[in-house]
């Protein structure tokens, strides 16, 4: 087998593995939601963790972001943007939640 089709096969396998992983995680999330309901905190926590796992699977297998030297520049960009994002989201939720408690619209 020549080099080109060998590389093609490897790249295609990478996509299919990523797809299979994401599919399993999606099925797991919806099965949990269907079987246990979504009301309790523990169930939601596991759904959120499975969602996070799926984000990582897709970043690695579809977007080819990893810790290899050549794609590190890009990992820096993604990590920095994630940091900005977390500051925005957690900051907003913290401040607005605190405001809601002080305005007595939300139980302590």
């Amino acid at each position: 087998m020549d080099k080109r089709s060998e590389m093609h096969r490897r790249e295609r396998r990478r996509y299919i593995v990523g797809y299979g992983g994401s599919l399993l995680l999606t099925l797991a999330v919806f099965t949990i939601a269907y079987k246990y309901g979504i009301q309790t905190k523990g169930v939601y926590l596991s759904i959120a963790l499975l969602g996070l796992a799926q984000l990582i699977v897709q970043l690695v297998y579809f977007l080819h972001i990893d810790r290899r030297r050549s794609s590190r520049e890009d990992l820096d960009l993604v990590l920095f943007s994630t940091l900005v994002l977390l500051i925005i989201i957690l900051g907003t939720v913290w401040i607005m939640g605190n405001l809601a408690v002080r305005m007595h619209t939300y139980p302590m």
Binding site: S5, E11, Y19, Y34, H64, I89, M96
Partner: protein, 210 residues
């Protein structure tokens, strides 16, 4: 045994076979990543607004009356599969597979993208029938600010796909076109990532805390 292909720039790569296209892509692809990340910050703001608005239902319909998890499940599967097919389309271009294969994967991606949009619009119409319109409450305003924004991105991706198909027909497989396909694939994968955030935070989060 060959070593894994080295990546000269972040994300999807054209590789050494298309050396000139690869080199031309390097800067624009990184620039496109910067655009994607600023788009991510925009989505992040909309997520933050949604989280703070989850209780602001003002007596209107809430997540339990409005969300249809079966439809969300179908949309998730469709979008995930389209993310695979856009990747396969990219590979078909990269390895010069027969034209029929390239057209097939692009066609499947377009059909999946459009069916995602149809399902999503049907959901919005069903919500509106139950009184879930944007001006009803802060919660619904936040919902309609976020989820259709993602849908708008998918619609843009579909238009982009059609334009690239026309260009492929008119100009053939040029270096420039290949680098555009790389960016489309990045964009499409990115939309799938945002969708995971939407099902986790908007739909499941809404049902848990709303």
């Amino acid at each position: 045994m060959k070593r894994a292909p080295t990546h000269s720039y972040p994300g999807l790569n054209l590789g050494r076979r298309h050396a000139s296209a690869d080199k031309a892509s390097e800067v624009v692809t990184f620039g496109f990543w910067v655009f994607l990340m600023s788009d991510l910050v925009y989505f992040g703001l909309m997520f933050a607004i949604y989280i703070t608005m989850i209780d602001a239902q003002a007596g209107g319909p809430g997540p339990h009356e409005l969300y249809d998890l079966k439809s969300i499940f179908a949309q998730t599967l469709i979008l995930l599969t389209s993310s695979l097919t856009v990747g396969l389309a990219m590979l078909a271009l990269k390895y010069n597979l027969p034209r029929a294969r390239i057209v097939l994967w692009f066609g499947v991606t377009l059909v999946l993208g459009l069916s995602f949009l149809v399902l999503e619009i049907r959901d919005f119409m069903a919500m509106a029938d139950k009184g879930g319109i944007p001006q009803r409450s802060g919660f619904l305003s936040a919902f309609y600010g976020l989820v259709p924004l993602h849908g708008l991105h998918v619609a843009t991706g579909c238009i982009w796909l059609i334009v690239l198909g026309i260009q492929l027909r008119l100009f053939g497989l040029t270096d420039r076109l290949m680098s555009r396909v790389v960016r489309l694939a990045l964009f499409w994968h990115f939309l799938d990532l945002i969708w995971i955030g939407i099902i986790t935070i908007v739909y499941f989060g809404g049902l848990s805390y709303g």
